[in-house]
């Protein structure tokens, strides 16, 4: 059985990118599930629930391979300081979502080398990159790099950020068209409260370049994409795109779900059940 995820993932309104909550999408229209996946269905046979923690070893192995493939491509496109190809022996951490969670929320997981963490976290697409041991690097930058404030160069930071985003196949044109761009020195590492302007004579050259949707601007917080970078060495620290509509790269594709979920899973069919009012448990 083949499950071409790209073809079925646009059935619902994008669910989490700009909303304040992340809601499951069980895709009542019937994203195909192999019989080996246990599920709850309603009286019409629509899938209404797959245990988010359900997974199998073969599934994790398969996803690891897909994440490796994606990480290699991203590392090459962004010319990251990685020894390519990245193989399993180079991995030092990460997280592969259980299948049930991925089915509901379309977040596949992430893998880490000693250099970077690569995440496929939005609509099955690569969306996240973070420098490994980020805080330790930033502490070092803060200790060693205090540049005079007349060297603050937001234009260069923006240019670097957009170059990386384009290289990673993110839709910068649409981001710029639909969002407000904000370029700031990183307030935490410069000892500033959010929104505060620097008053010192020196600054730590870590920049945040962010794209704020109209909703973000109305809320006063949040973003749809951001890049954090260290200017002196032009090092990419973090890259995140929350809204998949700005991600042009294709989703990772599962092609052998039946093999990953062999057998026949339990199907709970007697839903809905009658409400069962009753007392509350105790207090903490």
């Amino acid at each position: 059985m083949k499950m071409q995820l790209l073809s079925v993932f646009f059935l619902f309104i994008a669910f989490q990118a700009q909303s304040q909550v992340i809601l499951p999408n069980y895709d009542l229209a019937g994203r195909e599930l192999p019989p080996g996946v246990p599920k709850m269905v309603d009286t019409n046979g629509n899938v209404i629930y797959v245990n988010p923690m359900f997974t199998t070893g073969p599934y994790r192995e398969h996803i690891c391979d897909l994440l490796l493939k994606e990480a290699n491509q991203v590392a090459q496109e962004l010319q990251l300081s990685e020894k390519l190809p990245i193989t399993r022996s180079n991995l030092v951490g990460g997280f592969i979502s259980p299948f049930g969670f991925t089915y509901a929320y379309k977040k596949v997981g992430n893998i880490s080398t000693t250099n970077y963490n690569y995440g496929v976290e939005q609509d099955y697409k690569f969306s996240d990159l973070a420098l490994a041991n980020l805080d330790e690097h930033c502490l070092e930058y803060r200790a060693k790099y205090q540049w005079p404030t007349n060297r603050i160069n937001t234009a260069e930071a923006y240019q670097l950020a957009t170059q990386w985003l384009v290289a990673a196949h993110m839709n910068v044109n649409t981001l710029n068209k639909e969002c407000r761009v904000k370029v700031d020195i990183d307030h935490f590492w410069n000892g500033l409260r959010p929104g505060e302007k620097i008053k010192k004579k020196t600054f730590v050259p870590i920049y945040n370049v962010s794209w704020l949707s109209p909703k973000n601007q109305s809320d006063g917080y949040g973003d749809v994409a951001y890049v954090t970078l260290f200017a002196p060495t032009k090092k990419l620290l973090e890259l995140t795109v929350y809204d998949s509509k700005y991600i042009l790269r294709p989703p990772v594709v599962f092609t052998n779900l039946t093999a990953l979920f062999p057998g026949k899973g339990t199907v709970t069919t007697n839903w809905p059940v009658k409400p069962q009012p009753g007392p509350l448990p105790g207090m903490e």
Partner: protein, 543 residues
């Protein structure tokens, strides 16, 4: 107790100790020994818990409330009152557990305000930050910062930094060199004496009230901040996490569910697995306390179920202090300063954690520490029990600094952190007591599934604020956090052992969740665009 009634016995009587004007001491006519057995005492400044305070014993056995006034806005009047709080774990929700003392006015003659953050320095340097009185915003104020080594008597001058500012803030960096610019200071503590000269005579009146230096044109004053060198693991960054839970029900029900291989055990094991189980051969978080599922491995899977103090003292505490455990989740009955199981046979206090980790908080500058000094700061702490964010004790014990409020300047020597706890008492889905064992079991298991979801989002690099949002929504198979939006909620889904269930509730006792620190914290980074979000912001007296 009426705060305006002169017969109110909870009265503040100032005693002169010689530490004034920075340190102000009040005697309270309550036995120190009695107080420490029944609860605690704090000082409210304009209705909010003071930033730096502590309770000591007076020579006559009464209580001394010691307040470091340099951490409050300077050159202005404050309304002060004592507040007594009783220990109340397990008390009925209608119990009155606090009382307010008489209100008095107090004029602060301080010339600067210090901040809890930035009380430490390391080999790379120190931050010397202070807020000037707001009435001087926009005016040029001259200052000197005299750095002294307090290990000698009298203190040895190290360096003098001179400057001026019109921003209302003093922000200086010190590279640990002496005045010669070459030799490095190697001591463990520094006194930074901020001498401030105001530009006009406006401050004369204020300064004259308190006998400080004044002149017709250049009134001035000084305050001192003690900075301490970090002696432990200064960074909040570390690869280990501990998951801990205790028996929650009141009457012995669900004992088998909580115990090994029961439903709660299995559910919590899922949390441990999500956080620590290697996927395809590599680690995620590590834990020396919990063990992920691996049936052919030793040690056996362990989700962190703690049933006795021996486990706490012999296993958990050493693990918390190993210097690489920087994340923790605890499910327990709670209060502002303790965590316990229902029977009280397992209990952990914030004071104990504070001492163990060396994250020490004291008010008095003449002592070894001043403010929050962190030797082992944590990165992400979630204490999932009643009222765990009703006071500052817990987040301080784990060395978590707050996200700075407006008009405060602070620069930590640690990276972004977050503490999550509960404002007050609330319904506990794992507490049982419905009289229906199947319902009890379904609810408890559903809550463990919600925790699984919460930490699965976390591991997928979802910012903390959005993890909390997601786990506060009722979805199939999960019992969401009992936050105010869930006063009316339906818990529904299917339990692997018991089948489908559908429990509508309209009277859930809810509580706010407070997040102290960075809402945009992620498993391996931070999204600072979420910093302004106030969804889970704690009030000032908690943050």
């Amino acid at each position: 107790m009426n705060p305006l009634d002169s017969s109110n016995p909870l009265m503040l009587k100032q005693v002169i100790t010689g530490d004034e004007p920075d340190i102000i001491t009040f005697e309270i006519p309550i036995s120190y020994n009695v107080l420490t057995n029944i609860g605690g005492l704090n000082l409210n400044i304009n209705g909010v818990d003071a930033t730096l305070e502590e309770v000591d014993s007076a020579t006559n056995g009464h209580c001394l409330l010691v307040w470091n006034s340099t951490y409050e806005p300077p050159l202005r009047s404050h309304l002060l009152q004592a507040q007594i709080m009783l220990n109340g774990v397990g008390a009925p929700s209608t119990a009155k557990l606090s009382g307010m003392g008489q209100l008095i006015t107090f004029y602060s003659s301080n010339v600067v305000q210090f901040f809890e953050s930035g009380s430490m320095f390391d080999d790379n340097g120190a931050y010397l930050d202070a807020r000037l009185p707001s009435q001087y915003d926009g005016q040029t104020v001259n200052y000197t910062i005299q750095l002294n080594d307090p290990s000698t008597s009298p203190p040895t001058p190290i360096k003098t930094i001179t400057g001026s500012t019109s921003s209302g803030m003093i922000q200086e960096d010190w590279d640990l060199t002496y005045d010669d610019g070459t030799n490095h200071f190697t001591g463990d503590a520094v006194d930074a004496v901020f001498n401030v000269t105001f530009p006009d005579s406006m401050a004369n009146l204020a300064l004259r009230k308190n006998g400080q230096n004044e002149s017709s044109n250049s009134p001035s004053g000084k305050n001192t901040k003690r900075l301490n060198k970090a002696a432990g693991s200064l960074t909040e960054w570390g690869p280990n996490i501990d998951v801990v839970y205790v028996y929650m029900p009141t009457n012995g029900v669900l004992a088998s569910s909580f115990a090994k291989d029961g439903e709660v055990w299995s559910g919590m094991q899922g949390v441990v697995d999500a956080l620590t189980m290697p996927n395809s051969g590599y680690d995620i978080y590590n834990s020396y306390f919990d063990n992920y599922t691996c049936y052919f491995c030793w040690p056996r899977p362990y989700p962190g179920y703690v049933q006795d103090m021996t486990t706490v003292t012999n296993v958990l505490f050493p693990d918390l202090t190993n210097g690489i455990t920087k994340q923790i989740y605890v499910k327990a009955h709670g209060s502002g300063n303790s965590l316990c199981n229902w029977a009280g046979t397992v209990e952990i206090s914030s004071d104990t954690i504070s001492q163990l980790l060396g994250n020490i908080y004291t008010a008095k500058g003449s002592r070894m520490t001043n403010g929050l000094n962190t030797k082992n700061p944590y990165r992400f702490v979630f204490l999932d029990g009643c009222s765990t964010a009703s006071a500052k004790n817990w987040r301080r014990a784990f060395g978590v600094y707050p996200l700075d409020a407006p008009n405060q300047a602070a620069r930590n020597k640690v990276g972004p952190q977050a503490y999550v706890g509960w404002q007050k008492e609330h319904t506990g889905w794992m507490d049982a007591g419905t009289g229906d064992s199947t319902r009890d079991e379904n609810l408890a298991y559903a809550y463990t599934q919600n925790l699984n979801m919460f930490y699965t989002f976390w591991m997928n690099r979802v910012p903390l604020k959005q993890c909390l949002d997601a786990a506060s929504i009722a979805t199939a198979g999960t019992a969401p956090f009992p936050v105010p939006r869930n006063k009316n909620v339906t818990i529904w889904g299917s339990n692997p052992n018991n089948g489908p269930y559908n429990y509508p509730y309209s009277n859930v006792m809810t509580s706010k969740i407070y997040l102290v620190g960075y809402p945009g914290l992620r498993v391996d980074g931070v999204d600072h665009n979420l910093d302004p979000d106030k969804t889970y912001a704690a009030p000032v007296n908690v943050e």
